[in-house]
Symmetry: C2
Subunit: 181 residues, 2 copies
DNA sequence: ATCGGCATATATCAATCCGACACATAGCTT
DNA sequence: AAGCTATGTGTCGGATTGATATATGCCGAT
């Protein structure tokens, strides 16, 4: 699946600008299982515009730059539906944290400690984002399923991390959920 | 972290050919959290060879093609150690399965069912790989931590998938762990 | 006050990486 | 004999990333 299809999917839920699509995959509902950069989003939108899969509405805003709000067209809806019926590629997970953890005997204890904390903070942030998005979702929907999936997986990762602190020889911290006390 | 560092890490554990590195990230111990293709592995090895980070040993095997076995050099070890002390990039997770699940109202029930089964099978395969690799690991090592992390996360995903079958309106199957009966 | 940082917003571009293919040999099946 | 799998190295077009450029306005700090 390419970035074009990804944008199409987001635009099927609501109209958005390139900037807003980026935010959605960075902080929003999709952040857990999707990645895309400006360098692929903007060309994708331009490309789909010339293909008639999306339409633009240029908005001149006071105090803010020009905004191009894209909407999905009927043709785009059809293209999305088609893409949704292809066999999905296998999940891909990349973790530099785990790579470093693998070689823990070659890194300073201090660095390992920092990296471990960073990962835990990252996971808590992800979980917070997901739970926040989960408030406004009707049960039984695809959104609810995806939300629950993310929550289950990240909660398990946090659980494992907290249980393993000791066995990695790292100092015990205060309960990570209220680390900011 | 680029593919060069990744190859360096694998070569730090044991000498290997490009083909064996690919297998390691595809099926082996690293498959859960690392990705790399031939198109990046071979150029990376050539590049590192000219930089003196690795050395080659060409093996002419009977009945098999020429094999270039790469080993890490002292210079390579130093480069690896340096790379291991950089701040790791955030984890990246991409799932086309979850993307399709999000739009489940736009896909055929049959397709959703197939895709759901595919994901469960994929997860069971991942778990089997991880558990298989876990046999020959000494407790307390980085390997053990990484192995446990993968196991925890994937087990949670499987658990959630099986619990959610009904709520997605999909037919209940036999226990997925013995689906091959 | 103005300087830097942050948020909004679009866009480009070199470097990197993926996925598919080409080439080569051998064994095993249909 | 043809095709598939496995071992093995390698290239190449196209997709993608990550950094950067450009522009405007707001807000806090020096």
């Amino acid at each position: 699946m390419n970035v074009r299809t990804l944008c199409l999917g987001i635009l099927a839920l609501r109209e958005a600008s390139g900037y807003e699509i980026k935010k959605a995959v960075e902080d929003g509902m999709f952040s857990h299982f999707i990645e895309a950069s400006y360098g692929s989003i903007y060309p994708a939108l331009t490309h789909m515009l010339s293909d008639g899969l999306v339409s633009v509405r240029e908005q001149v805003q006071e105090g803010k730059p020009l905004k191009k709000t894209y909407s999905i067209t009927d043709s785009g809806q059809k293209a999305l539906k088609h893409a949704l019926h292809e066999i999905p590629q296998q999940d891909k997970y990349k973790s530099e944290f785990l790579f470093q953890a693998l070689f823990r005997d070659q890194v300073d204890a201090q660095h390992l400690d920092d990296v471990f904390d960073g990962q835990l903070q990252f996971l808590h942030g992800e979980l917070a984002t997901i739970e926040q998005c989960g408030d406004s979702i009707e049960p039984g929907s695809g959104h609810a399923f995806v939300n629950g999936y993310g929550r289950a997986v990240i909660a398990a990762a946090i659980q494992y991390m907290e249980d393993s602190r000791g066995s990695l020889g790292l100092p015990q911290k205060a309960t990570s959920s209220d680390a900011a006390e």
